[in-house]
Symmetry: C2
Subunit: 241 residues, 2 copies
DNA sequence: GTTCCGATAATGTCTATACATAATCGCGAA
DNA sequence: TTCGCGATTATGTATAGACATTATCGGAAC
């Protein structure tokens, strides 16, 4: 009954592929009711658990919607989203075989101002470590980073010299991630920023703001400014894992 | 043995929450070996299938890495990524209670040029529907969209008047999604673009490029230019669904 | 010491069954 | 006709057992 040897995938995968194919080809349009578990069970000659696990997975991935008693239907296409990779300079530089270094331009511990308190949801006056970092590859400035680190959540940051790794990389390795909020904007470089990044005043820059929380506790906010003529954010995405 | 009634979650969820909590609190750092299935089974007094399903789910979500015989370990934090919502103007406008309209500035059917052929992986000379659309809210231009639609994949687009819905919305409803590629950049508006978007020449603009495929077949490419002072891309993201 | 190979131990897949839960349908009463 | 309630049905969760697959470990042969 089972002949795995000859190019035969597992049943789970076969059922999953079949359903995905029918959805993505448009044969089963959004809203279309897909066969009941007992029907698929009969069609593939397997137990309900197998079918159920496939459908649960597809539901978790947002491809289908399941409701007790009512059955299973193809989900409406979700609102469009873009998944973009955020570059790790040290990693990219090593891969490309170029020299990377970073320079901490300023460092201080200050209570946050009202605007930052609003953004982060922290009480005004919370002590934050404030860092300004310049990222340089092959002697060309690649990005300017302004970062706030919540010393209440990450107290060891206060005494960390950030000698080997820039703050972002250090944090990523140290603090587990839970939630993040991102904002991407385009701005014209002002005089100060232009000087720092060695670009013309007024040149378009990509600004990435990233705020992260760990289990509800605010961790850090980073505002990274990239020269528009040297950087872009890129991402590939397919809804079905 | 089972007392669901009093605020008791399902075992599956409890195990999952426990493991997620330990990972996200840092108690189990990346690389840490997670208890074997038979250990968790004993700890929670349940069958292996239950534990297995939890761990499979977490593995699918990228939180842990599983290897036969070797066991299960906490995954290294993946390279950072940002998930950004792409605005649907009609929807946003309706929600905010403002007037939205779009205007198709140009429309033609042309064979693609060499550069576009390279980007899309199509043979040079493939016939594409080329559209330029301006999105307007409350009489203020919000975005300029240049779009190519592959007539081989979506032939019905050739005769579609795009009267009620702009091309992006029309396509989203019609063509099932499979893969997408995104690029976000910042550029200075040139004279033509500035005029179209009613901004100053040289003002920073956010450019979103989006290419989509359906089961390997190229569907469409859109390049949307937003005035930098009026728009930003926003996204929230948590790694554990 | 090195190489190869079989035993072992972990995950991967699947079955057959059971009971829980939730939403719908249809019937009977107001 | 309408309302409400019980029966029905599809999914949700869980179990115990079986066999497949695949690294790894450790010992035997070289």
């Amino acid at each position: 009954m089972k002949e795995d040897p000859a190019g035969m995938k597992h049943l789970h995968q076969r059922i999953r592929d079949d359903i995905e194919a029918r959805i993505m080809s448009g044969e089963w349009a959004p809203g279309h009711r897909i066969p009941f578990e007992h029907e698929l069970m009969a069609e593939y000659g397997c137990s309900r658990m197998t079918v159920n696990k496939v459908l649960s997975t597809l539901a978790a991935n947002g491809l289908i919607t399941r409701r007790r008693r009512a059955g299973t239907v193809v989900a409406e296409p979700s609102s469009q989203q873009a998944v973009l990779q955020i570059q790790d300079f040290a990693l990219e530089a090593a891969r490309a075989g170029v020299e990377y270094r970073f320079k901490i331009l300023s460092r201080s511990v200050e209570p946050i101002d009202v605007a930052a308190a609003q953004r982060t949801g922290l009480p005004a006056g919370t002590q934050m470590l404030c860092l300004s970092t310049l990222h340089v590859m092959d002697n060309v400035p690649q990005a300017f980073e302004q970062r706030l680190i919540n010393l209440a959540t990450v107290p060891e940051a206060g005494t960390e010299p950030f000698k080997d790794d820039p703050p972002g990389t250090w944090l990523l390795r140290r603090v587990p991630w839970t939630d993040a909020e991102h904002i991407v904007r385009a701005v014209n470089a002002d005089g100060t920023m232009a000087k720092r990044l060695q670009i013309q005043s007024g040149a378009a820059c990509l600004v990435l703001e990233r705020r992260t929380w760990q289990a509800g506790a605010f961790v850090t906010e980073a505002r990274i400014t990239y020269p528009g003529d040297r950087h872009q954010l890129v991402g590939r995405f397919s809804p079905v894992a």
